[in-house]
Assembly symmetry: C2
DNA sequence: TTGAAATCGTTCGGTCCCTGACGATAGGAT
DNA sequence: ATCCTATCGTCAGGGACCGAACGATTTCAA
């Protein structure tokens, strides 16, 4: 059922180089292409959309999480954004500088800090997200709906294994 | 043909939040899961394998490219490693510090610089790559061979679209 | 009630990563 | 022979990124 798709030159040459070393080529192809796509799409989004708002990919991700779930403790926000606590500190600092987010002390626990999107931050996500999603559509335009679903499913399986 | 795989809690809640905004859910699911997996696997590799050699993911990537293709001009090396020229300057500097790579002036063109892996660098890749690939196998162990091939194929299609 | 242990967010040091600007070198046209 | 332009790798500046160490606060056991 699989239409032919040419391997890139890099992939062809790499295969030739590792031939006969007992390498699991299918695992190699699957994983390395995940990195290649993630890298390419990340750069694409930053250059063609996010730069306009002076947002990095991480900055947008954090803001998006805040938009979806509302105010969150740093702790949880870092976890859901897929970055470390210490990185989040810096990203939120940048977001504050842009007027997109604010910090608020926790009412009951003096150690904790709540991060929330400002009204400006919320408005910005409302503006960006549909455009972001439109680009996602562009990027996946040569895949059928079934193929997109199957792709997402396979990735969820991997995620489940890695995060176990 | 698609076995059931539970959406993560994050994905379920995010869908609920963006419902009715005319969002292309399939494109959203496909792309966002690429990022989640890339992130998770990158961290996994750095923590469980690369840290042992004091290599970052990028450092390993560059060294691997050198191992596969031999000495390369900075220019081309950056391109194949998926990073910018200026980033490569820093990464190669780190690799030099670790004794894994060396710089050599181009014979005919005074502007160019050739980067090559040292013997120690080559030996290190020979040692790491099979272990790296074994982890790739682990990570994809719950996908059939056909599913891995289909995953790689779908990603190549996206790559072709983004890099066009 | 008080001291030990756990947990919180931040800081620190080091690397990665980008864009934009730069000096150096090369190559082609006059 | 000498400009003009293109291309090379690097540097500067700003932000992202991590693990480890840290002070502040909370919690729990004695």
């Amino acid at each position: 059922m699989s239409r032919e798709v040419a391997l890139t030159r890099e992939e062809r040459e790499a295969r030739a180089r590792v031939e006969g070393l007992g390498i699991d080529i299918d695992a190699f192809a699957a994983v390395s292409n995940v990195f290649r796509v993630a890298n390419a799409v990340r750069n694409y989004m930053e250059r063609n959309l996010l730069a306009e708002y002076r947002l990095s990919f991480s900055g947008f991700t954090v803001l998006w999480v805040l938009w979806v779930w509302g105010p969150k403790e740093s702790n949880v926000l870092a976890e859901e954004s897929g970055i470390s606590k210490s990185t989040l500190t810096g990203v939120v600092k940048t977001l504050e500088g842009l007027g997109f987010a604010a910090r608020r002390p926790h009412a009951a626990d003096g150690r904790r800090v709540l991060v929330e999107a400002t009204e400006k931050g919320m408005a910005t996500v409302r503006e960006i997200f549909p455009r972001f999603n439109a680009l996602e559509g562009e990027i996946t335009r040569d895949l059928s709906t079934a193929e997109k679903e199957e792709l997402a499913r396979a990735l969820r399986v991997m995620l489940h294994t890695v995060e176990a």
